[in-house]
Structures are given as C-alpha cells and as structure tokens.
Symmetry: C3
Amino acid sequence: MTETVVPGTIGELRARVEQFYAAQMRLLDSGEAEAWADTFTEDAVFSANGRSEPTRGRSAIAAAARLTSAELGAAGRIRRHWIGMSAVEPAADGTVRVGSYALIIETEVGGSPKVLMSTTCDDVLVDDGGLRVRHRVVARDDIAS
Amino acid sequence: MTETVVPGTIGELRARVEQFYAAQMRLLDSGEAEAWADTFTEDAVFSANGRSEPTRGRSAIAAAARLTSAELGAAGRIRRHWIGMSAVEPAADGTVRVGSYALIIETEVGGSPKVLMSTTCDDVLVDDGGLRVRHRVVARDDIAS
Amino acid sequence: MTETVVPGTIGELRARVEQFYAAQMRLLDSGEAEAWADTFTEDAVFSANGRSEPTRGRSAIAAAARLTSAELGAAGRIRRHWIGMSAVEPAADGTVRVGSYALIIETEVGGSPKVLMSTTCDDVLVDDGGLRVRHRVVARDDIAS
C-alpha cells in the first residue's frame, strides 16, 4: 500500500520533475545535442514566441541544439539554463503539466555573467519509463504578448 | 497510518511550500492583484526595509499590487519574482516558517533582463485548507541593516 | 515499514539536500565562518578552478570565509549564493552525489545587484547525523576548462 501512496504525493512528483530538468538542462548546456533531444518524445513540439515556427520532432530539436552549441563553442561562451518557480500538476490524462520560469545565464571566457534571457516555460511531460517533454512553450519576456 | 506519516515529512512540506510560492508569484507577476492578495490572510502584515510602514491587510496588499502592475504595464515591463534557497521549518504553533532568498528579474519589451533586486524573504505561513502568508518580511540587500 | 520506505524516496532525499544548502549558504552569506565550516567534514576538500590549490580541512575553510566576509563587510557588499538545478544521486557507498549550478549575486549598499559569478558545484555529501560536504568542486564558467 505504501508503494502506491508515496509515488502519488506531490513531493515525489516534484522531485522527479526537478531531477528531470536538472539532467535535461545539463545536457543542453554541455552541448550533448542527441542526449538532449532524447529527453523529448519522438514527436515533440517545441514552440517559442521568438521563432516563427515550432520545432517539430526529436531530430529537429537535436539539430537546433547542435547549431547553437557550435556557435557558443566558437564564441567561447557558456550558457546555463535555470528552470525555477515550477508549478507541477498531474493531469487526468496521465501527463504532467509544469509551468515554470526560466533564466539563461551566459558567461564568456574571461568575462562576467549576464542574464541573457528571462522566459516562462510551460511543459507537457509524459512518463514512458522516464519523463520526457511532449510539448514545450517558451515565451520570452522581452517580446510583447 | 501511511496517510499521517507522509504529509509530515519534510519532502511533502517543502513541496507544498514550493507549489504555493510558484502559484503566488505567478499571480503577482501576471498582475492578478486580487488573487495575489488572497494568498495572504485577511489580517496579513507585509513589512519591507524599503518602506517606512508595513502594508496591513489583504485589501491594502491588493491595492499596492494593482498600482505596481499598472505602472509596469504602462512602462512595458515584466517582472519575475524568484524565491529560492528556502529553509522550511514547521513551528510548534502549527505555522510554517520559511526563510528564503528572492530575486526580481525585470525585462522591458525589446530590452535585456536585469536583476532589479536581491532580498531575503522571511514568511510565516498558515494552513487553513491552503497555505497563506500571515507575516512577510522582505529585506533588500542594497539597504544597510 | 513506512519509516524505511519514505526516507529512501527521491523526494525526501532532495528535500534534505535542499534544506542543507539553504542553511549552509545562509551561514556563508551571513559571515558565520565557523558555523559554515562546520557544514563540511573535518577533512573536507574544497577545489575550485579559480584557485591553484584546494582548501583542505575545516579550519582552512573557516579562515577563507572569515577573510572574504571581512573584505565584503568593509566594502559594504552582500553576496547571495544560489544553488539550483541540482541532480541528487545516492551512491552505493552511502554518500550522496549532487551536481548543481550556482550563482553569486552581489549587491553594494545603495547599488544594484549584479551576477558576480556563474559556476557548477559538484558535491559529495556524507550523512553523520546531519549532512556535510566531504568534497566540493566549483568550476567557474568564465575560466576555460
């Protein structure tokens, strides 16, 4: 009985989500584009108000990450994606809805860190063994809604 | 027996507090002044070292939020309140004491985000069905103590 | 049975780690050098890519904190260490490995906060009644690896 009660608590669910984001963002920030893309479902949709079209599917998500990572590497820049202030809600359909804030902190070799971007990040996560993002909407604060 | 043990764990209590802050700050940052004020008790006291007098009571808290929200909207600015590094302690009187750090990140439309303010935030939370703030003390780091 | 299951969950472990960091960093940022040093084991090793040699042992860790604290006090500056995006993994040897991001936010009296530093922070924690850091590696993002 304990086994079914404990995983259902909000503490356990939040912990799983936070572990997921910690691992996911470390992969992105380390330039591990394929492993990053594998944290999305095969048919994931990644929308952003800064882009005209959503990125669709794992291989497009990997390609975008490879490109950004190469540019940052050439420029000697490191980015850190911080996800925080997450509201985690299990949905009736078995998905998990997570509404968060996100910051991108960028540091150039020999330079000072700056807050590159402040956004909201609204995810639909699915659980197929591990958590994965099926749908992500990122909205930059510097773009009028 | 499980039902009484699990909610008493620090993991569950922290999760409830974090869910509360996530929802509370999203309301403030979205300009939902009445819903924001409803996350405080009717007789809440909100002190800040940047103000000469505490704000007392839910309606004064709502009024202050409406004013700030209108000013930010007119200026095309979005603020994000990040609460973090929280130490959560249940008190003998049934309240929950939470000592946190807070950052305000402000972004102007078309501009770059800046760290507007760094503070501590010390709360007394009460639980009357949901969590609410009964007493909040915000201390800005730029004001000598 | 419940007592053995609950503390083993990832939610409970993360909560303990987060409570530990909240308390630990509040001590450092408040200039309580001895209490800060007491959050490390007697023989702790604290490495940083910004320093040529690791700091070894609790008394050296306390001395370094006292020095920094005195300098910051004289300059009228407050630092806030934010630990976040933590991936928490219990290891087979009974230790807990935690890989995090960290930010240092510095505010001068009368000034605006700035992001002084962005780093990773990789800890080995041990549990001897309370959690303590046995080994910490801090890597600044502004120093090429």
